[in-house]
Symmetry: C2
Subunit: 144 residues, 2 copies
Amino acid sequence: MDIAEVAKASGLPASTLRFYEEKGLIQSNGRFGLRRLFSANVIERLALISLGRSAGFSLDEIGEMFTPEGPDINRTLLLAKADELDSKIKALTSMRDGLRHSAACNAPNHFECPKFLRLLRVAGKNRFRQANIKLKRKVRTYLP
Amino acid sequence: MDIAEVAKASGLPASTLRFYEEKGLIQSNGRFGLRRLFSANVIERLALISLGRSAGFSLDEIGEMFTPEGPDINRTLLLAKADELDSKIKALTSMRDGLRHSAACNAPNHFECPKFLRLLRVAGKNRFRQANIKLKRKVRTYLP
DNA sequence: GCTTGACTTCAAGTTGACTTGAGCTTTTAT
DNA sequence: ATAAAAGCTCAAGTCAACTTGAAGTCAAGC
């Protein structure tokens, strides 16, 4: 397949495909003149990348999942990611419930609605930041 | 409360709190000298912001949820966001299942495991990009 | 009364994930 | 045979969400 076909099939712009190739997330298997040639299985790989992105993983993290550094390290990493997703799913679910409730609720302000506040507090229990932000943030110096 | 107390209670650095205030996501209610004073309810608001961020909303989107432009527009927006979250939850769930399966599976490569590929295809059905990326991306010129 | 340390502002820097543009080459349609 | 369309590379630009740094202010403790 040439890059335009991959773009069409995956829904990603060609520039993104070149960028992903440069990052090592996908491979082209040869050239026709200058032009990259891709094999069909790149589509599945791109689907997985999109899925991972939408789940909040960084491209680097997705890359790690593809290239197991050792058999056990990889397994452990995958399970850790799965657990991370679990708490993300919980947060999303309470966010969703909160939004639905807010839409139905006739309190003047969501912050005055006890149901909303309860959802907020429940959700706050498994609080976390986005993975890629968490990783790069240094130890804070604002606390004693 | 002064900014350090808010930082401690919310887990966010003071610089972020100033940044959020500048963006209009939170308000300080007065000053003591130069120093901002916050009322205690800012903590709940920050919890909601963190929750929204972890659910993948941009700060601008979160801001929109706070400031209803009209009573109905707001309600519709909230429900739309809730639906968006629903498909996000589905994607995360299949991603999580895929990861857990991969960790347990002994196929040499996840792409050779039919169970994994099936999960991938199911997840691909409700494919989407991250909201903030989707919003800024122009109409693509790569397709005919 | 002066130092200290927590605060302030404002501008500039950073990071991840792409996109855009310039300038070139190659394929394809006429 | 030639021009348009599609690819290519490589550098630079963009955007959101913060962070960092410099330079100043101010209340509190000694």
